[in-house]
């Protein structure tokens, strides 16, 4: 039922050892808690090294967590329990960003779309045929497309095959990792529209991982911003774009160029210094403070908590919600 919690993460963590012999570890996901309601779309945004891809892999069981709990449909998830993993696999699907790499080049589109059904135990050939035809039509692939191999399809058509594979076995949750970032702007619109249509037709819940604000804009109900393994802001999509709370989110949105030269000249762009870098050298206090133009002494010493700073809106910043669009602290 819509509105009921489908996915719940509580203080989930995952570290990786660096392979450079330094013995240091990267805290890729460092204590993430969030809930996702049925038929809701949560976007996770952030730049390289933010941990957003690892978070998606933890949820889909591709990477085990070191600590914390994940519940799906009210049940605790343990991917190492093979019986439970077998039962969960069809319900939680993933759309990958590397389209060519995730499709076997020797298979036709038809075989690629039918494969998950067979893997998940649909033995009746007529049932497989019926469902493949239904999903192909939903994603906009013709009978002719279904006879082709990945290299004989365009980028947009291949992405349709990837999406068809993810939804064919009627999942409940689809984790989409950069589903349109490799596509041109005109194809991107078509795929975003398709994802929106499928969500309604199949009653899907999405977790969308992206650095691309256009996809967030078009698909998300809520947005989580990640920075070096932490969620630093969690907001509904309208508030996220209209009045972002965390200095990082404010800077991130101001860095996205808009297709209007006059607006570009008027705009106050906040150009952050440096880069997030790797999560193996995390600053004391607030992790964002070395790049934050609003950083004060407290930010260098005390790590802020993710707290509710406005109804339903959370930010991990000592000064939120009193940060202006130019990153000055306003009347606190």
């Amino acid at each position: 039922m819509a509105g009921m919690t489908l996915l719940k993460l509580d203080d989930v963590r995952r570290e990786f050892k660096l392979t450079d012999g330094s013995g240091r570890t990267v805290r890729a996901v460092d204590g993430v808690s969030l809930e996702l309601a049925r038929e809701e779309t949560l976007a996770v945004v952030g730049e390289s090294g933010s941990g957003k891809t690892t978070l998606g892999r933890l949820i889909t069981g591709l990477t085990p967590a070191d600590a914390g709990t994940v519940e799906f449909g009210g049940e605790p998830v343990d991917w190492s329990d093979r019986g439970q993993a077998r039962a969960l696999r069809p319900k939680i699907q993933m759309v990958f960003q590397d389209i060519l790499g995730s499709l076997d080049p020797r298979w036709t589109a038809h075989a690629l779309i039918a494969e998950p059904l067979r893997n998940f135990g649909v033995r009746d050939a007529a049932e497989v045929e019926r469902r493949v035809a239904e999903v192909a039509e939903e994603v906009g692939l013709t009978a002719q497309h279904l006879t082709r191999r990945p290299r004989e399809l365009s980028g947009g058509q291949r992405q349709r095959v990837v999406i068809a594979r993810a939804v064919v076995a009627r999942p409940e949750l689809v984790v989409c990792d950069e589903p349109v970032s490799a596509l041109d702007v005109s194809i991107r619109g078509q795929i975003l529209e398709l994802l929106g249509r499928l969500r309604a037709a199949e009653g899907l819940t999405y977790l969308v991982i992206s650095h691309d604000m256009s996809i967030v804009q078009k698909l998300a109900d809520r947005v989580a911003t990640m920075y070096l393994g932490h969620i630093v802001e969690l907001s509904d999509v309208r508030s996220f774009f209209e009045r972002p709370l965390h200095p990082y989110t404010i800077a991130l949105l101001s860095a996205v160029p808009v297709a209007d030269p006059a607006a570009e000249r008027r705009r106050r762009r906040i150009v952050l210094g440096g880069e997030a870098g790797d999560a193996s050298r995390i600053a004391s206090g607030c992790r964002f403070h070395p790049r934050c133009p609003a950083a004060a002494d407290v930010c260098r010493t005390d790590p802020p908590e993710l707290r509710e700073v406005a109804p339903g809106r959370f930010a991990r910043c000592h000064f939120a919600p009193n940060i202006g669009p130019d990153l000055t602290v306003t009347g606190a």
């Binding site: 702007v185 860095a255 808009v258 297709a259 209007d260 006059a262 150009v271 880069e275």
Partner: protein, 328 residues
């Protein structure tokens, strides 16, 4: 601004051999870049942007050749130059900023040494003199600790730092033109903002001309003085940035701008251009955009529309302004 353009491309065509024939990813392209000007070349993948930029330096794959036209840099035709003369153009008069900063340097050599070698490839200077210039160049692009960066291997630097170092290398021989093919596509958006700011800074500081190739209309709006739009190997529209964005004349340009804008407006519905760019081996007769164009009529399929001048721009489209509803 001098009357002779810095770079003048006229009627350039490049063909590539493919199984079963040849394609022409650059088809009768003409454009000019003036001193101190930033021109953005825009279009979707496969429209010919990258083959055009490689044609400008005669740096084409073996299966490709230029079949017509000329590329004049300060009056010298690059297409007829000897290999020795070409070496003096590439990396010296024309600096190149590559697409993927993490793979552009040789991973086995220190960044500073590679820049020194690049300087010495074009100028007869001692290693020490070149090294001094290299350190200064790294400082000029805003790298905080040039000596440390110079000693680092590319893998020890972030994407943004590598891209700054590559820009330093491209600038080290004091070029007149900088060619940048999607220089920020592989970077995070906050780092993209830094690199674009740096490019704008060095451009105004040195009076450099920049040809920036991008698929991102937002990036083009941010940095361009002039926009050149390519489709299926042809220039379909060209003009000053404000005119092209406020009153695009080609339906393809209008579609690119509308989909880029709609993608960032909260209450805007989805917008996109139907269909996909054509297969260059099976181009439709006439205007290559006609099969995707909602305004196409019989004459569009009959022949390639002539380039029509209007104001300071030009467009290859048969419509009149009254027939362009997006201008209303």
């Amino acid at each position: 601004m001098s009357a002779a353009p810095l770079l003048e491309v006229s009627g350039l065509s490049t063909e590539i051999e493919v199984p079963g024939g040849s394609i022409r990813p650059v088809d009768d392209v003409s454009l000019r870049i003036d001193r101190g000007e930033t021109v953005c070349l825009v279009g979707e993948s496969g429209c010919g942007k990258t083959i055009l930029s490689r044609s400008l330096l005669m740096a084409l794959p073996e299966t490709a050749r230029i079949t017509g036209g000329a590329v004049r840099l300060e009056g010298d035709d690059i297409t007829t130059m000897s290999p020795g003369a070409l070496r003096a153009v590439r990396g010296a008069r024309v600096g190149v900023v590559p697409q993927d900063p993490m793979t552009a340097f040789d991973p086995l050599f220190r960044v500073g040494d590679q820049i020194v070698e690049a300087i010495r490839a074009h100028e007869d200077v001692s290693w020490e003199a070149a090294a001094e210039r290299m350190i200064a160049a790294l400082g000029d692009v805003g790298l905080p600790d040039p000596v440390r960066v110079a000693r680092a291997l590319p893998s020890q630097l972030s994407g943004g730092m590598n891209q700054r170092a590559l820009i330093a290398m491209a600038l080290a021989a004091d070029p007149v033109l900088l060619l940048a093919d999607e220089p920020t596509t592989a970077l995070d958006v906050t780092v993209q903002a830094q690199v674009l700011e740096l490019l704008a800074h060095v451009q105004s500081e040195r009076g450099l001309a920049v040809l920036l190739i991008t698929h991102d209309m937002g990036v083009a709006a941010m940095v361009a003085d002039r926009i050149v739009v390519m489709y299926a190997g042809r220039v379909v529209e060209e003009g000053p940035v404000d005119e092209v964005f406020s009153a695009p004349r080609h339906p393809y340009t209008a579609g690119l701008i509308a989909s880029a804008r709609a993608s960032l407006e909260l209450d805007h519905p989805y917008r996109w251009i139907a269909g996909a760019p054509p297969d260059l081996q099976a181009l439709p007769p006439g205007c290559p955009f006609a099969p995707r164009c909602e305004f196409a009529r019989e004459e569009c399929a009959a022949g390639m529309p002539a380039m029509v001048e209007h104001g300071r721009g030009r467009v290859a489209c048969v419509l009149d302004d009254e027939e362009r509803p997006w201008l209303a």
